[in-house]
């Protein structure tokens, strides 16, 4: 069996280099075909009827007028008369027609008799939630009462972070063609290898009948795992039309209303500490909602988990609003915001620098040294020493401040299988049923294979995005890179071992004395006893070498190729206009450990992106519900606000690439960097103003409300 471990950091030739993503040219030239771009012959377009009411019963549905419209191919119902709808935007009917325009006309022609029922869509105020709030039970550690009574300083604060949506630019949807026992399915998905089984269950066919293809997808962020009801109904509409392909992609309003949200989180937090800043007690009464199912408690206290005395109470609030889906680092950004806001306010009450408070309490984290180092590095990069001042201290109407947020994440590699084929002409294929969400996965796979085979990346053909390739896990929880890098490494070395066996006699040594370097097979350390890769391949005979490699999560710790556990610290500097309440980003610093970094270029891009997402959620982004109609008030991109190019300020990413982290193996990066930024920005606003804006996004109205009559000059 080959030695699978990664080559030492200094000896890698491809991994660790800053490589342009392989699909960059085809994407930036507009030639990449996303599922929503596919227009197969005979395509039917669709339009969806959704519920205008947040809570209602359907008495009857009349499709006659809609069916009579020329060009309508079929109409399928998601629900039947008698059904009770629990949120506005819920799927009612899907129309397939020759054109989108016709399908939309047909949607307008569907007549439904509704019985409208009372709804609840607001969750900011727990007292108003009534029976919609369900207590999750109390968790107590130590003796919080005693600890609070003995504390020198007690901080009490209330903080909130509202529901946001995923807002994938490519909406949820698919193209699908169902003819006889063959289903060709092109979903925009994070789960190439598992989505077919789910669809098969929904439409009652064997999974073997479904061929999934997803070469590119336009954003998922945790919301694009299942085939969804519209996947199933579009399949049935295709079958009903005699096998014409059907395209269904949600319109923007529906995308923002039902295709997934991140749950809100509100909390009243009490922290007890000694005069020197040592934290002794924590109490939180929190509530959250991610739709009709309520919302779970985020992991608070966050990162500083070992506060000795703790009491947590949580309530899940059921709302008549679109359901939650996993949102990049589920529950962590909320937990970081709640915890780091309260810690910063505690520091203010102690007349302490929050950086000093976090250092003082680093022992309460599970990785004290890592956090201490990262706090130091981030402080250096943002110039904390010179930028920090007592909260609200300063002159003029424009105030600057700095703040901190911290993060932790798992990110161990998922189950993944890879097949590497070396053809007798020397060409190499690498196949995985994986997907590239824009993370650079495709590029990283190629880099691992090239590194392992001693070839340039141009000699490797990476094939992903199809469920006929060996199964790889869905891309969620930052598990992809650990999984695919390990399976690709093992498959590559297994294939290479077979090639060595074929070549060894010609080089007059045992197979285990060979190595693959610079497109050659050579006797270890002896470039003079070598043959070219192509010559070596010719020794194979007519059959290609095909070898598998697998990442088995339970074996990962022993093998050491991938692991889990990533820490991160982010620090922000903002400028607040105290007259208009407008907050402007000046700088965001992200210090991130993520083990062995395969491609620093795309890895940094992920962190930059996570920082910008944090700016969105800290300053702009919020799903606003209308209490009267029960609908989302801003299901569009004008009023569902995301940051633009002028809004981001300077962003500094420090990947913390060093031997000590590298030795741990590959760790997923997608989520850990998307956690601490919101807290850092909210705390920077606090430092600028000396006043807590308790709820994000920190919009100008919230700033002005928090300032009240306070004047700055």
């Amino acid at each position: 069996m080959p030695e699978y471990k990664w080559p030492p950091m200094g000896k890698r030739k491809v991994m660790g280099q800053r490589i342009n993503r392989l699909d960059g040219p085809v994407k930036s030239a507009g030639r990449a075909k996303y599922p929503s771009d596919l227009n197969p012959q005979g395509l039917l377009q669709t339009a969806m009827l959704t519920s205008p009411y947040a809570h209602a019963k359907i008495r009857s549905i009349n499709l006659d007028a809609a069916k009579a419209i020329p060009g309508v191919s079929g109409i399928n119902l998601f629900v039947q008369p008698g059904a009770e709808i629990q949120w506005a935007g819920a799927e009612i009917a899907l129309v397939a027609a020759n054109t989108e325009e016709i399908a939309r006309d047909a949607v307008r022609a569907i007549k439904i008799d509704w019985e409208v029922l009372p709804h609840v869509v607001k969750d900011e105020n727990l007292a108003k939630a009534g029976t919609r709030a369900k207590a999750a039970g109390e968790q107590v550690t130590g003796d919080p009462e005693k600890a609070f009574s003995e504390a020198n300083v007690t901080l009490e604060g209330e903080y909130g972070i509202p529901v946001i949506t995923h807002c994938c630019l490519e909406p949820h949807g698919n193209v699908i063609s169902w003819k006889g026992d063959k289903i060709d399915y092109w979903p925009s998905t994070q789960a190439v290898s598992t989505v077919a089984t789910q669809l098969a269950t929904l439409i009652n066919v064997p999974a073997t009948n479904i061929n999934v293809t997803c070469d590119y997808m336009g954003g998922g962020f945790g919301s694009k795992f299942p085939p969804d009801s519209w996947g199933a109904e579009s399949a049935k509409l295709s079958k009903g039309s005699g096998g014409r392909p059907v395209k269904v992609f949600l319109d923007r309003a529906t995308e923002l209303t039902i295709a997934g949200v991140r749950p809100s989180h509100y909390a009243k937090i009490k922290i007890g500490a000694k005069s020197d800043g040592s934290i002794t007690a924590w109490q939180s009464d929190s509530w959250s909602s991610g739709g009709f199912g309520g919302g779970g408690m985020s992991p608070i206290p966050y990162v500083f988990v070992n506060i000795p005395n703790r009491r947590n109470n949580h309530a899940a609030v059921s709302l008549n609003s679109g359901p939650q889906r996993a949102w990049r680092a589920p529950n962590h950004p909320q937990a970081a915001f709640l915890t780091c806001s309260a810690l910063t306010d505690l520091a203010a009450k102690l007349n302490m620098d929050p950086l000093a408070l976090l250092h003082k309490n680093a022992g309460l984290t599970l990785r004290a040294d890592t956090y201490r180092n990262q706090l130091e590095k981030a402080a250096e990069l943002i110039d904390w020493k010179n930028k920090y001042h007592a909260p609200g201290e300063g002159k003029g109407t424009l105030r600057r401040g700095v703040g901190i947020g911290v993060a932790t994440w798992g990110g161990g590699g998922h189950a993944s299988k890879c097949k590497v084929t070396i053809h007798p002409d020397g060409s190499v294929e690498v196949e995985l049923g994986s997907q590239d969400l824009g993370t650079g996965n495709r590029t990283c796979i190629s880099m691992v294979a090239a590194e392992s085979l001693g070839l340039p990346m141009s000699a490797i053909k990476v094939k992903i995005g199809n469920n006929s390739y060996p199964a790889s896990g869905p891309s969620g929880g930052s598990t992809t890179i650990g999984g695919v890098s390990t399976s690709t490494r093992k498959a590559s070395l297994n294939a290479l071992e077979k090639l060595f066996e074929k070549v060894a006699p010609a080089l007059g040594v045992a197979a285990d004395q060979l190595e693959a370097v610079d497109s050659r097979i050579q006797v270890k350390g002896n470039p003079n006893k070598a043959m070219s890769w192509k010559q070596a391949a010719q020794k194979m005979g007519p059959s290609p070498i095909e070898e598998m490699g697998e990442n088995v999560p339970a074996q990962a710790a022993r093998e050491g190729l991938n692991t889990l556990g990533a820490a991160g610290v982010q620090m922000a500097e903002v400028e607040v206009d105290t007259e208009t309440g407008i907050v402007k980003m000046r700088k965001l610093v992200a210090v991130q450990d993520c083990g062995l970094v395969v491609n620093p270029k795309t890895a940094e891009s992920q962190v930059f992106g996570a920082c910008i997402m944090s700016i969105c959620a800290a300053l702009y982004e919020e799903r606003v519900m209308d209490a009267v109609t029960g609908r989302v008030l801003n299901p569009d991109m004008e009023f569902y606000k995301l940051a633009g190019l002028p809004d981001i300020g300077e962003i500094v990413v420090h990947m913390d690439i060093q031997e000590v982290h590298d030795k741990r193996g590959v760790i997923g990066l997608g989520e850990p960097c998307a956690i601490g930024g919101i807290a850092a920005i909210a705390n920077a606003v606090h430092n600028a103003l000396g006043v807590r804006v308790p709820t994000v996004p920190v919009t100008s109205d919230r700033v002005l409300n928090a300032l009240g009559n306070k004047r700055y000059a």
Partner: protein
């Protein structure tokens, strides 16, 4: 799109006050920025044409005349994507906010979702598919690749078109001009750091101009 109104934009940039951020704070909105020029042109037409059902029109796209059947309500974006298989321009917000559908009409950068196909008849339309010579990357696209100014890539063709249109008017932009000039495009993955670098790099390698 911002590059249509440079003088106004520049003034705003100098004053350090952006309408976008003010509106954001005030929580109120505005009509489409990008379609402004075309709206003026549409208003200038004296006789309204009444049409219904599908009509065949000829569009001048990427230097080729192409016939296509559209309805009067069909947007240029939907005509391109659904009826002509030109899918580089993406449909994201479909309401003139995000810029993913950016194309050029008569050398002006517009949102394809905010122009009716029938209003584009007789004008020279350029899409992302038409900016590069066969088999080569346009220098702006190449700069996006070099600076990793893309992740999922769904906003990228719109960004490239907007950047090209911007550079045609501002061949030597400052960072501030790049930020303001491309404020009409939205990315969800958060590629703006790369975009900022890419546009500045492209400015060096691509000498745009109104005839480029």
């Amino acid at each position: 799109m911002s590059s249509n109104n440079d003088s106004e934009k520049d003034k705003r940039a100098q004053s350090g006050f952006s309408r976008r951020s003010w509106l954001r704070g005030a929580g109120i909105g505005t009509s489409v920025v990008g379609a402004g020029v075309l709206e003026q042109e549409a208003e200038a037409q004296v006789t309204p044409k009444v049409m219904s059902g599908e009509v065949e029109i000829t569009l001048d796209i990427n230097g080729r005349k192409r016939s296509v059947k559209v309805e009067p309500r069909t947007t240029l974006l939907d005509a391109l994507r659904n009826r002509m298989d030109l899918t580089g321009a993406k449909r994201v917000c479909d309401r003139g906010t995000c810029g993913a559908c950016t194309v050029s009409i008569g050398g002006k950068i517009v949102y394809g979702c905010s122009v009716l196909a029938v209003d584009a008849v007789g004008k020279s339309i350029q899409t992302i598919e038409g900016i590069a010579t066969e088999g080569q990357l346009h220098p702006v696209s190449a700069a996006f690749v070099n600076n990793d100014a893309q992740q999922c890539g769904y906003c990228t063709p719109g960004f490239v078109m907007a950047a090209k249109g911007f550079l045609d008017k501002h061949p030597n932009p400052t960072v501030e001009q790049v930020e303001k000039g491309l404020a009409g495009n939205i990315c969800r993955c958060g590629t703006y750091v790369g975009v900022r670098k890419a546009v500045l790099e492209a400015a060096k390698n691509y000498k745009g101009g109104s005839n480029a």
